[in-house]
Subunit: 361 residues, 2 copies
DNA sequence: AGCGTCATCTTTATCGTTATAGCCAAGGTG
DNA sequence: CACCTTGGCTATAACGATAAAGATGACGCT
């Protein structure tokens, strides 16, 4: 006990004794109180857990997820707690038990599919938990934007410019790795609420403009990357072989674009990465952006602003989302009662990738 | 004990009893074995600790650090251990005790200044530790590149093009937040070994070309960002007021460049961010890159390749560094004896930001 | 019957802390 | 002088798990 006091409450013992303790500790090679034992006794782990939908090694390639991490870490640093990135999210070795075994005081679940075992594992721990973006769970604190309204605004921007032929590129509708055109039935069954809400927002705007959503092609990608967006756009815009770009090798042969009257004049993407891939595909097909094709993204990550042309997109503050989530979690740990659902503001940022549709020929 | 077996070794008891245990657990609201207690008893925390030099909220803005995190996480995921981002690195509340209190089995220390309390705190834990980039510590496993040789190659590329007037932009020489021209004395006292080695490499190349290193201006920035690089370049290239860019406000008034015969024709930067800032400053000063000014960076982060012009820089594989560090640490935890120092390959990537110096007027 | 084997479950002791309460001497009060 | 404080130190008992060893009974074999 005296040793414990020497380390934790130096004022409780005389300087002399403390010095003796420290000296002896050094001589014996005692490395200081064991964090595990201390945690057990004190009942706190000193860390917040972060559960992502995909393995971290993918997640760090997503600028939005990294910004979110930055926000969380800012608050965690200030509260002097660690941030544990929980393993077990890789598809080939999905391991909900890892969530149960994580040494944490509370959990932040970031953008996981509805019904995923990771979510139930997190909730079963009976510790404070905050869910970010998706899925909603009864009584569980939540942080996110109004995806449906935001998507609707993005699409209305284009219907307002009098676009009539639309196509959409979406990241995963459900966590089964599907890739390709998504039928209306599949759209209906979507297990990622965010994808679902964004598509619903697109549908709202198109419906309000008198256009048919079920007949609007939606290309589903199993993730969010420029390469996947490029591939999707080729499928939606071109008539050439639909091989993935990697198979095309170094000397890419662009496929021919669809004839004008069949080709969409506007592409709605559920993320900036996908949108940037679409812009790239358009360029390779010889289509001008926004002259021949308008593209809107979602998230407003840094590359969206830096792109050529800069991307019209829905801005959301990912860092703020991270800060909020962390604060809600820390508040719950302190036993404070706070608002359970926080919506973060979004806004459409109109830049250079959208314009009126080309004049009919 | 039977409960423990029910959770950890289902084969050790009959299905019936196990079912009864699980059912009772549910009824009583028992959330499964407590990770802290399990960790204490088993002697493992199930996580690796990651200690950065700066608070995470800054670190996530550094593409190189994020890529490194990606590499580490890849290996950690595969080994089914978590990754704890240790707090306590913010300058205003630097807290080496947080390193001692982290619930981890081993530590990775990423790019910390020599003599920093974080390093000694890590080593005093008497757990396997790997240091990345800096500082070197006797007998402690290390991963990094040959910074001096790499920097020398970068500078030799420019001396080979017959540049004669150089300037350098460096990130921190020592962790004291200094900003401005770094005297030869200060360069000599540098506490960040990486900065020191890269400057030494520059000096090697300049010396070999018969140029004076002590007379070559070096501008020190307290971090690595485009904005700091821009500011440094203004100081090195312009004659206007040397105020930081932020003070210039929204309507930036570019200062006039130095007259030709005094202005450097080549800038050596210790990071891509700083280099990109220098390119931007040159543009604002009306100087062509590489026509009037050549710039080399360091690290080859994604924006370097995407920049206009694309940046000549020293490539290093940050992810690979992360993977290596994590593997060395896991190896040490398993008690394997491995090589203690691993050098990662680097290579100069010549792109569009460097060329011959302008013809003398 | 006697004995070993095996599957299944239980007992004991321990991991390294720290909350709590207790002890003791020195000094202050009435 | 008895009595209370106070500062400084110590003894006890958990925190919640699990390794290791022990107990129990069913079964087969000679």
């Amino acid at each position: 006990m005296t040793v414990s006091n020497a380390y934790n409450r130096p004022d409780q013992l005389s300087a002399a004794l403390r010095e003796r303790v420290v000296e002896t500790a050094r001589r014996l090679g005692y490395p200081g109180p064991d964090p595990l034992a201390r945690g057990l006794r004190r009942g706190r782990a000193g860390a917040l857990g972060l559960v992502y939908d995909s393995p971290l090694s993918y997640t760090v390639r997503d600028a939005a997820a990294v910004a979110f991490l930055g926000g969380v870490s800012e608050v965690a640093e200030a509260a002097r707690v660690g941030l544990l990135l929980v393993p077990g999210t890789a598809p080939e070795q999905r391991d909900a038990a890892a969530v149960g075994a994580a040494v944490v005081d509370g959990l932040i679940v970031y953008s996981v599919a509805a019904g995923d075992a990771l979510v139930s594992a997190a909730l079963e721990r009976n510790r404070p938990t905050v869910i970010v973006d998706q899925p909603r769970a009864r009584g569980v604190p939540f942080v996110g934007i109004d995806d449906r309204a935001a998507a609707r605004e993005a699409a209305e921007h284009l219907t307002g410019l009098w676009h009539r032929r639309f196509a959409a590129i979406a990241f995963a509708l459900s966590p089964d790795g599907a890739r390709g055109p998504a039928s209306p039935a599949r759209r209906h069954r979507a297990r990622y609420p965010v994808t679902r809400a964004r598509l619903a927002g697109f549908a709202d705007a198109l419906g309000a403009a008198g256009l048919s959503w079920p007949q609007t092609p939606v290309y589903e990608c199993p993730g969010s990357s420029v390469e996947l967006g490029r591939e999707a756009a080729f499928a939606l815009l071109g008539e050439g072989p639909r091989r993935p770009a990697a198979a095309l090798g170094a000397a890419r042969r662009p496929t021919a674009p669809l004839r004008d009257h069949r080709r969409p004049t506007a592409v709605l993407a559920t993320s900036d990465e996908l949108a940037l891939g679409a812009v790239q595909a358009a360029r390779e097909l010889g289509l001008a952006v926004p002259g021949d094709l308008s593209v809107v993204g979602f998230d407003d990550v840094p590359p969206a602003r830096a792109a050529e042309p800069p991307l019209t997109t829905v801005h959301q503050d990912h860092e703020e989302k991270g800060r909020l989530a962390a604060e809600m979690l820390l508040g719950a740990l302190r036993g404070e009662a706070t608002r359970r659902v926080r919506r973060v503001a979004h806004r459409l940022v109109v830049r250079g990738s959208t314009g009126p549709p080309p004049a009919p020929t």
